[in-house]
Amino acid sequence: MAEQKQRVSLRRISKCYDDSIALTETDLDIAAGEYVVLLGPSGSGKTTLLSILGGFVAPTTGKVAIDGGDVTDLPPAKRPTATVFQDYALFPHMSVAANVAFGLAMRRMGKVERLRKAEAMLDLVGLKGFGGRGVHQLSGGQRQRVALARAIAVDPAVLLLDEPLGALDLALRRQMQEELVRLQRRLHATFVHVTHDQEEAMSIADRVVVMNHGRIEDMGPPARVYLKPASLFAARFMGENNLFEGKAIGRVNGQTAIDTAVGRLLADQNAASGEALHVGIRPEQLRFAPELGAQSLGEARIEEFSFQGTHFRVRCRLKDHEILARVPAETPPHVGETLPLFVRFEDLVLLQQ
């Protein structure tokens, strides 16, 4: 990918309220045309960060710059951002077209021209011909699209989406995720999207920013954050994981040896000798036969399983510790049977405490 222009730069941004810290000092850069997802549980600071970017919340410290210009003290109206709100916040007394054209009217665009542009925006979000309808005549998914059209109509340098799909049912949410990505590619726009849904984050983001307790825990492409999380929190929050406490005891043949509750394990990843850490093993990384580059974890007893379509999700007990595995759908497990478990050296993730 070519070196891209920097669009947003957040420098040492923090937000304190009377008795709590919503965001500790944070730096974040966003490139033009990037789809960034802020992911975290409620209270993680992700919405605070988005609100600071949109100008709805003033940061306690730090600077916000968009396209090189300092916007820290500018109100939302004067920023080149537009927000899609969680509850859509459509104007209930206006038609769909008037909603979409509102930002253009505020920019003193002529009526004919702005209605033409509103129609084009509605076309873009798949609502061609809906301009004359009232907001209350629309379904939830259609309202979501109107909110989107209204925000992109003003050609924002950055589009901010605050849990935009939270109110939609699962099927519609999956469909809208695809459409958001398609729209973002088509407009070459910069999207910053807040969600607590890690599947949503993984499926749409160019870059996931995992947040917790007002700080960024990890950020990077979804696959990297999922497979090689940088923190214990990121490893727990993104998908299912088996985590075992352990202690690095030294290097053996270029590998790190770790003593854990389930025995001594070898990992490709580096760790300082004597360091206390967690070992992470994804359920889908557990194998059931010996292979080159893999080590044995021992035999686990199957305690419970459920069918998930593509696989069985199996809960087993390994040396008195619970461990989750994924067994292929064609080999149904049986409760009480033993399952030999193997894991590759390169799949082990070592997480600092």
């Binding site: 949109g54 100008g55 709805f56 109100p75 939302p76 109206a77 951002t81 537009a82 927000t83 709100f85 509850d87 916040a89 459509l90 104007f91 209930p92 007394h93 509102f102 930002g103 505020m106 920019r107 907001v135 209350h136 005549q137 209204r150 925000a151 003003v154």
Partner: protein
């Protein structure tokens, strides 16, 4: 889900009887007032003879009554407008600005609701005396603003929730200035509520006697004239006047209910 239909038993019979008696208790006075407005005779007492529209004809040709009716419309119309406008401004500012004394201010704004009209009327009389304001329709109108402002404030404040605040935020985000937010978004979005507040204030002003009596002198409102006529004895003409006043109140209340119902419907879908 609908409950399965069930056979009526003695308890239901007793409940229905009780309800009928309660409704009779509530509506008998109004019912007899209206019935004897159509009395073909000089006294609005049983037995009922009639019906006739003669008394309505007389009321509509009674200059004092008609003049008072227009005075009432004037006082109610303008005082409710002022009360709604001031109530809206107060509600908007208290709902939208986090302000240290907001709760105290709200308490003070609402407090007049708990004070009797008699006390408010006397207080206003004293205050107007000090200020050199004569007893007049203007004084009555100001009195009605005093009693209706808290109500208008409460009605409008209740409709300025977080969802509405977010809608205003969206308008600001899209470039609207503060006056544009209020003028293009908040007020139009709230119009059913504003109209409801206006009409409720109007009905209260329309029916209000104590303050109107204490603060008026030559030009008086309808309730004051009716009270004056009552002193010279019962007449079906008074029944006819009362029936008209009642009919107008009912029409306005029905309009308010309709507007609130539409507003709720829009809110559910909005």
């Amino acid at each position: 889900m609908k409950a399965a239909p069930r056979r009526l038993d003695w308890g239901d019979g007793a409940a229905l009887l009780y309800m009928a008696l309660a409704l009779l208790f509530i509506f008998l006075p109004v019912g007899s007032l209206i019935l004897f407005a159509f009395q073909d005779g000089m006294a609005p007492v049983p037995p009922f003879k009639g019906p006739t529209l003669a008394w309505f004809d007389k009321v509509l040709h009674n200059r004092r009554l008609i003049e008072a009716l227009w005075n009432s419309v004037l006082v109610g119309g303008l005082s409710s407008l002022v009360a709604t406008f001031l109530g809206f401004l107060a509600a908007f500012s208290l709902a939208r600005r986090s302000w240290r004394f907001a709760e105290g201010a709200q308490l003070f704004l609402m407090a007049p609701i708990t004070v009797s009209y008699l006390i408010i009327g006397m207080g206003l009389q004293i205050a107007f005396n000090l200020l050199g304001v004569d007893r007049s329709l203007l004084a009555v109108g100001i009195g009605h603003v005093v009693i209706n402002l808290p109500l208008c404030f409460a009605i409008i404040y209740s409709q300025l929730g977080e969802h509405q605040a977010n809608i205003e935020r969206a308008a600001r985000d899209l470039g609207a200035k503060e006056w544009q937010v209020v003028g293009l978004i908040t007020a139009p979005m709230l119009w059913p509520t504003l109209l409801a507040a206006y009409f409720i204030a109007f009905t209260l002003s329309w029916d209000e006697f104590v303050i109107a009596f204490l603060l008026s002198r030559f030009d008086v409102t309808l309730p004051v004239v009716i009270w004056g006529l009552l002193r010279s004895g019962l007449s079906p003409e008074l029944n006819a006047a009362g029936t008209l006043v009642f009919a107008i109140s009912i029409a306005i209340v029905a309009a308010v209910e309709f507007l609130l119902w539409r507003g709720r419907k829009a809110a559910v879908h909005g």
